[in-house]
Symmetry: C2
Subunit: 209 residues, 2 copies
């Protein structure tokens, strides 16, 4: 039997950073980062003991480049990238594959569950008008992106199945099939595998062939 | 008077992920991520009001690529990258510059203050021998890197001063002068500025000339 761990939980947080409380920020990290890590921790010893397994984690383009008014959300999604890259370097020595399924906007309840500072919120009264104007613009941009570019969950499931069925899964999968241009600016080796192998060679080189 | 915020606090955490408690993981994020964000939050309204300012944050190569046995540390440093990139996209509209000073190993008390699972720790008795062997190898690698490649704090201070004195600071500075090869695999535009400008254009384009 093949062991498969899928980590998919995630919540959003949108609004000017000045208005975010420490408790709210902690909650986002609790779900998005620690939820993911604790899920992996629960299955890791058994996977290592069996010398096989797959760990699939839902990533986000917000984990690959910053998004204004999403400082804490991006922090949590970047954090997942860091944890997964670190794990992937180690776990290839156990025949355990880590894969990030990097999603853009998807038609789920994400927008419903998203914690967002709404334009009518009284907290916005503390804010300078320039920030408020940019925030309005950002929300419009965001609505239009979700209306025009959001993928259906079935399309995302297909990518998960690709990763699950592949004999040698990549580290990073982009759900739309193309690497978004901003991510391309940051990542020359989009599947991430070369980076992980190089790191392993540097550190554990006496083990490599 | 020019407003300058410097965020430098950070702690490390090293050891097999299976052995990390939730409380320990939370502490690392509390210092490395929330400490940084709260410092920025404290000065942001005044910087915005003055329409100028500089935010300098100590980053780490561990925020740019994963390191085995450093899942939580890398998560926290990646998180800082995400928060700072997000902020930088917005704050260029306020004439506030965000810069990350990306350090490799530095001769500070970092190693003394580092939370590390030591080889004699009883907690390691729960661990499989393969992981233990790789962890020993990692610790040796780490010692040799710090002995052979660690920079002095004076060299780092010079980079901070460069960023402070530059009329148009970059987003990302590498303290050794060269982008580490693994980071190069990930970042084609090493100073990060193009990525930030592109993001801003996409979202706030009606403001751009």
């Amino acid at each position: 039997m093949s062991l498969l761990t899928v980590c998919n939980a995630g919540v959003g947080l949108m609004g000017p950073l000045e208005l975010q409380s420490l408790d709210t920020m902690r909650q986002i990290l609790e779900v998005n980062l620690f939820g993911t890590i604790q899920t992996i921790q629960a299955f890791l010893p058994e996977m290592k003991a069996q010398g096989q397994g797959r760990i699939l984690v839902t990533g986000s383009t917000g984990g690959l480049h910053g998004l204004p008014f999403n400082e804490v959300y991006c922090a949590s999604k970047f954090a997942i990238e860091g944890a997964c890259e670190s794990l992937a370097v180690l776990l290839q020595h156990f025949n355990i594959h880590v894969s990030l399924i990097e999603c853009g906007p998807v038609n789920t309840d994400f927008l419903v569950n998203l914690q967002k500072v709404e334009l009518g919120d009284t907290s916005l009264e503390q804010l300078d008008t320039h920030t408020l104007g940019l925030y309005e613009k950002y929300l419009q941009h965001c609505d239009s992106v979700f209306q025009n570019a959001a993928q259906d969950t079935e399309d995302i499931v297909k990518v998960f199945l690709d990763a699950i069925q592949s004999p040698s899964p990549l580290f990073r999968y982009f759900t739309s099939g193309v690497v978004p241009p901003l991510t391309q600016l940051k990542i020359t080796q989009p599947d991430g595998s070369q980076c992980i192998r190089s790191m392993s060679k540097i550190i554990f080189s006496s083990e490599e062939k």
